[in-house]
């Protein structure tokens, strides 16, 4: 079992969801995040004072998958999120120790579904 965490550009979320649905990955959780990598920020000013803001809006998608789904999920995310420009984001794959479905109490691969 793996936990896949992906940081993507917010405007690509819809495209990523569609690509994942096409690969039969339906379950995910989405949160807002601020982040930066190589992408430069933007300049912001207020009443004549200017400052550089480097933290940009990103979206974090967390998906718990069984091992046989890891590659298709990563493919789906990249297909939806890649624009070719700096700032497309990153995907992290973490080992997942346990997963429990609250409603039924199932554990392990069954819980991931």
């Amino acid at each position: 079992m793996k936990l896949i965490i992906a940081y993507i550009k917010p405007e690509r979320l819809n495209a990523v969801k569609q690509e994942l649905y096409a690969r039969e990955v339906y379950k995910m959780s989405v949160t807002n995040a601020l982040g930066c990598g190589q992408q430069k920020g933007y300049a912001e000013s207020y009443r004549g004072v200017i400052s550089q803001v480097t933290l940009l809006k990103k979206v974090r998608i967390s998906i718990a998958v069984n091992d046989n789904f890891v590659d298709t999920t990563i493919e789906g995310i990249i297909a939806g999120a890649r624009t070719g420009k700096i700032g497309d984001g990153k995907i992290f794959v973490l080992p997942l120790e346990q997963c429990i479905r609250i409603r039924t109490g199932e554990t392990g691969s069954d819980a991931i579904g």
Binding site: P10, E11, N14, N32, Y42, E44, K57, V59
Partner: protein, 493 residues
């Protein structure tokens, strides 16, 4: 980032404006005396100033029929020749103008509330600049174009009675020919000019370059709006045909609507608004309370918009206009609410709010002449029409974030035609054909003119912000400001 072209345009427009207004102020003696006081405030200089101004006032008071040079000394003498009736009428028109002014705040709230938070500052900026630009250009040029008096140049289609604000002494009294002074006339009519331009700002929101919008506003409010208005209110050919547009369903709302349509067509839709199959996607407004505040402010201001168009405080007409206005607004709200809930299952707030405005726009052409039942029905129908109009524009892939096309263009046309369709009060009758001619005539100038202005800008400076700027948000891209810096406004759905 600002191109040389826009800078050049700004400078020439500023120069034009300064020349226009300067011609209205050439009282050499008084100015010289004032300058003398400013340079060396000695007792003698002050005495000179007092003597000069007293002489000026005495001259003005002694011969009120004679034209005083340039700028008028606002004297008690003018007020002495007016009676209480004139004072009340004048006061009402002045207050009504202030109510119309408040509508700009209404527009600012509606538009920013129905658009996304990342574009809020940009919309507020446009809506704050619009009344300023509208009023300045109207003073410089528009007033003379809209009310040429006898100075018609081209049949009864284009007339012009001079640039700048240049009244005569008699224009401060009932000798002006109306129940208010020249300044009140300018004040009231100037407020209307900007309302026409601000309609466009909602339809082109979230993707237009702010400079392009400001240049459009200057040209549209200064030239197109007054010329079309002169055809009816200025005594032009539409007035001769018996066309009736009481407070501006055609002259203000449909003219603004045609400008908005031209802008929407040339701009294109917002990124992500339509799927490749032509379905519309949700792009939700970020602040429903602000949108509601805006609609209530517009509703409130409309009492001045229609009430002031009575052009006097005559109790019979004024009280009747207030009633028809209120009834149509209420009926529009109810009509939109019912249509929205029947068609979509649940009543949608933002479209119901649009219904209120639709009812108001619909009754604006005939608020003084339609019967009570007509007012209610016109409002109700406008409320129903606006719900379908919003979907109609989406089917044509014309993206209108706030419903300006549906409320102002569609219901403006409807309201104008309604005067020729629905029953009016006894001893009045209006034919359908003049109303239709008026609608088409306004369209014939407003739409191509707006199309031309936008097209030239599209080819020279570009109309639309870049894709990345649109995603970042116009607040940061055009202003480097944030509307809600303490909040994190995300759109992830």
């Amino acid at each position: 980032m600002r191109t040389h072209t826009t800078l050049l345009v700004y400078c020439s427009l500023a120069l034009l404006f300064m020349i226009a207004v300067a011609r209205g102020a050439d009282d050499a003696a008084l100015n010289a005396a004032i300058d003398a006081v400013g340079a060396s405030p000695s007792t003698q200089a002050k005495e000179n100033l007092n003597a000069a101004s007293a002489a000026y006032q005495a001259a003005a008071a002694a011969e009120p029929a004679e034209e005083a040079p340039g700028a008028i000394a606002i004297t008690a003498a003018a007020d002495e020749v007016t009676d209480v009736g004139f004072k009340v009428d004048n006061l009402w028109i002045a207050i009504a103008a202030m109510l119309v002014f408040m509508m700009h705040l209404g527009f600012a709230m509606v538009e920013s509330g129905l658009c996304r938070a990342k574009n809020c500052v940009n919309i507020l900026f446009k809506n704050t600049l619009t009344p300023a630009i509208g009023f300045l250009t109207f003073t410089a040029l528009g007033f003379g174009l809209m009310y040429p008096g006898d100075h018609w140049l081209l049949g009864k289609v284009v007339g012009f009675c001079g640039m700048g604000a240049a009244p005569q002494f008699k224009d401060l009294t009932a000798a002006y020919g109306a129940s208010y002074t020249y300044w009140t006339d300018l004040f009231f009519q100037g407020m209307f000019a900007a309302t026409c331009a601000t309609i466009v700002s909602g339809a082109v929101a979230e993707r237009i370059k702010v400079n392009a919008y400001l240049i459009f506003t200057v040209l549209y409010a200064m030239i197109v709006y007054p010329i079309i208005g002169s055809w009816g209110w200025g005594g032009g050919f539409l007035a001769d045909l018996g066309f009736h547009d009481f407070a501006g369903s055609t002259f203000v709302h449909s003219v603004g609507g045609w400008g908005a349509l031209a802008g929407v067509m040339l701009l294109g839709s917002r990124y992500g608004k339509y799927t490749p199959d032509g379905e519309a996607r949700l792009i939700m407004g970020h602040n429903m309370p602000m949108a509601t505040i805006g609609v209530f402010l517009l509703w409130f201001g409309w009492f001045g918009f229609n009430g002031g168009s009575a052009l006097s405080a005559g109790p019979a007409q004024l009280s009747y206009v207030l009633i028809t206005t209120m009834l149509a607004a209420s009926a529009g709200l109810v009509g939109a609410m019912l249509t929205s809930s029947l068609r979509d299952g649940k009543a949608d707030l933002s479209i119901t709010l649009n219904g209120c405005l639709a009812g108001l726009v619909g009754v604006t052409a005939g608020a003084d002449v339609v019967t009570i039942w007509s007012a209610i029905i016109i409002g109700l129908l406008a409320g129903v029409i606006v719900v379908f109009a919003v979907s109609f524009w989406d089917k044509l892939l014309l993206d209108d974030p706030v419903g300006a096309l549906s409320v102002h263009l569609v219901c403006g046309v409807f309201g104008t035609l309604a005067v020729g369709i629905f029953p009016t009060i006894p001893h009045t009758s209006f034919a359908f054909l003049p109303q239709l001619i008026g609608v088409l005539a306004a369209a014939a100038l407003a739409f191509p003119a707006a199309l031309l202005i936008f097209f030239v800008m599209k080819k020279t400076m570009g109309l639309r912000v870049t894709h990345d700027e649109e995603l970042l948000g116009l607040d940061l891209a055009e202003h480097s400001n944030e509307a809600y810096p303490d909040f994190q406004s995300f759109l992830t759905k």
